[in-house]
Symmetry: C2
């Protein structure tokens, strides 16, 4: 035991030994210094958390059902909340719903239930980094499929589905983290049909489902699959983006055979999601009028911040930096000329006291070195204007050009 | 997709396909009927939950730090709570502490970090069923070591340590769930020394640490290992048995190389334990005087209920049913003559409208058919007297004898 590092290193599982410290994580630790402007974290706007409402609801719950709220509860989750979730999903009953401790836990449990070492999983390029962190311990082999402005490219997708046997395909159709893309209706229909044709279940991650800035929300892949008979989509969403992420309450909706296995996996993983937190989320969402107004506030605020960031990008970025203007969600996704390495850019940006997340970790195939993610959800007008100005300086310096300002 | 069951069955991971529905779970579902007396669940007494204190503390936290309490937070956990935990463990700093979503999650993450398929893990016979549920998905091979009244038998333990290379040994020295055993000081010292001699890390599960009915708590294995240089014990405890299990706040304390890996594993598993819940637990435990009084109440109540159950067992059980009188914790562990199968007894008991947990699932080696667990923590005097009377009738019937009453 003289050298604890090597004592334990030789005792860790193979999956653990592959984990390496993240350079990006180390760099981003610097961003808590005063004067720093960070667009790195995907943090919902704390100024929109319904703090008073949560305080009132907690009192009501503890007064009326304190013993229940503080006791162990069933692994499946709080029944009224499961009923509420089921009520929003076509064809679903509470037996199709499992409450989880954040979407992240949903991803972990689905990985645990489906993935053997070497199992193939189809992912978008780019995809959500946290899903890769959740799946990696189960040692899948990823096949990445490219995207255009509307999401997964159909020809490439079909070729992959034809060539491989996948445990599932992981898709974020609505304001994808990181790219902010919204998959259109026709693309959604085509993907649901292809998945059924090639008998590949879809895992639909819909964390940003409510964050449309305008227009009518598109049907989920779950709903479209339901129209074709159902059973081929496992759906994941959360209260983190509409109420408060610190409560860690999310849900999986899926075919009963899948939910049954998730129940067992969750029982071994954490017994159940905190009872009080589940009751609290239900107490908030059950008042539909209030909940819609809360969502409305978030939409309006994020849209405003999105527009501020768009204006700043237009002002401070050189013309060969590209982006899709997000119509919802929390992120801008930038694509730079191929020679610009965004990890190097981050080092330069940190010198300017601003930060973002380099794009490469969002690609399971290791590409995307010239991409980066900016979050506007938690920033003020001033922070956005100044932060993008600093990023502009760093970009111009990296590209060997004179900055605009 | 016509047959969803087989469609998904062929897509599940190997670890999932091994999961079978539990007969016991199915039987215990019946116990929610009116008139049923169940000693099956290991439920802390809800009448002792500090509901008002929790309500007040929640208000204070939300008023003063609402945005923080509801926002994402670090994977490692809320620093003041980590400091409080570290302050109770000799030689520990907050860097040795990881907050987890219940002890159950600690077990899952340690399984994920250490266990490869076929890895050997040493367990007590019997051991905590939930640990087996947590470890099983990582496919270990268990080696069970027998116990006497004081815990693991030293000669058997040393023979196992000599014969196998273990990832770790899993030990519950204090009021073990299920057997209620308290490991004595000399046994503790000997086990810590043997583990160091054979370079086998100890995972110490100390969920019942505070529930001594009398006397001075014995030093933890963690503390004893620390006296010999430290680094060989990973320690797990929780707020579930002293405050409220529904909050799901527990902690792992261990050597830094282990904690670092657990941080990564937890990040993939659920990002972090709910911020509000961590702040709430800290807000309660920081008032040491109140917290000690709360623990005092629990000790006194459980001791009283333990004594009620002891009296009922003495009255209604035949002489060839044995037990250890627990000096703390929540459980009686009964051993019947070898011919009595406690799963069959459960079916008989359910006829009598009472329930317990059969002992076999607590044995990794499948033995223990003639054992069973009774929880007294949540039961009234009347329930205990009547419930044990019913159990007595079932036992006498199974053994083909005339009941006492």
């Amino acid at each position: 035991m003289d050298n604890l590092e090597s004592y334990y290193q030789s005792r860790f599982a193979a999956r653990t030994q592959r984990i390496q410290a993240s350079t990006i994580r180390e760099i981003l630790k610097l961003t808590t210094q005063p004067g720093f402007i960070s667009f790195a974290g995907g943090l919902p706007a704390a100024d929109l958390f319904p703090i008073e409402r949560i305080a009132e609801a907690t009192q009501r719950i503890l007064q009326a059902h304190g013993a229940q709220a503080l006791q162990y509860s069933t692994t499946e989750g709080y029944l009224p909340l499961r009923e509420w979730v089921a009520g929003r999903m076509p064809g679903a009953t509470p037996e199709h719903v499992q409450i989880v401790s954040g979407s992240q836990q949903g991803l972990d449990l689905i990985g645990k239930v489906f993935i053997d070492p070497g199992s193939k999983v189809l992912v978008e390029a780019p995809t959500y980094l946290g899903a890769l962190s959740a799946f990696n311990p189960y040692e899948p082999e990823y096949i990445s499929v490219g995207m255009d402005e509307e999401g997964l490219q159909l020809d490439e997708l079909e070729a992959a589905l034809k060539a491989h046997h996948f445990k599932f395909m992981y898709v974020l159709p609505t304001f994808q983290n990181p790219s902010g893309r919204l998959m259109g209706l026709e693309r959604r229909k085509a993907i649901v049909e292809l998945a059924r044709k090639y008998q590949t279940p879809i895992l639909e991650d819909d964390a940003y489902a409510e964050l449309y800035f305008s227009g009518k929300p598109l049907p989920t892949l779950y709903a479209l699959d339901q129209e074709l008979g159902g059973g081929n989509v496992v759906y994941l969403s959360t209260s983190s983006k509409t109420l408060a992420p610190g409560l860690r309450v999310a849900w999986v909706v899926g075919p009963k055979p899948v939910i049954q296995k998730i129940v067992y996996a969750k029982q071994g993983a954490d017994l159940h999601t905190p009872t009080l937190n589940q009751m609290l989320v239900y107490e908030l969402v059950r008042d539909g009028e209030w909940f819609q107004a809360q969502i409305g506030k978030i939409r309006h605020t994020y849209q405003t911040r999105r527009t501020w960031m768009l204006e700043a990008l237009q002002k401070y970025m050189p013309e060969d930096i590209g982006w899709i203007v997000p119509e919802g969600g929390m992120f801008f996704w930038l694509t730079a000329p191929a020679q610009l390495d965004s990890l190097e850019l981050l080092k330069q940006a940190v010198e300017e006291k601003m930060a973002f997340v380099p794009g490469q970790p969002f690609y399971a195939d290791g590409s995307g070195k010239n991409t980066l993610r900016l979050s506007y959800s938690s920033a003020s007008h001033e922070q956005i204007a100044e932060g993008i100005k600093r990023l502009g300086r760093a970009v111009h310096k990296m590209l060997g050009r004179e900055p605009v300002v």
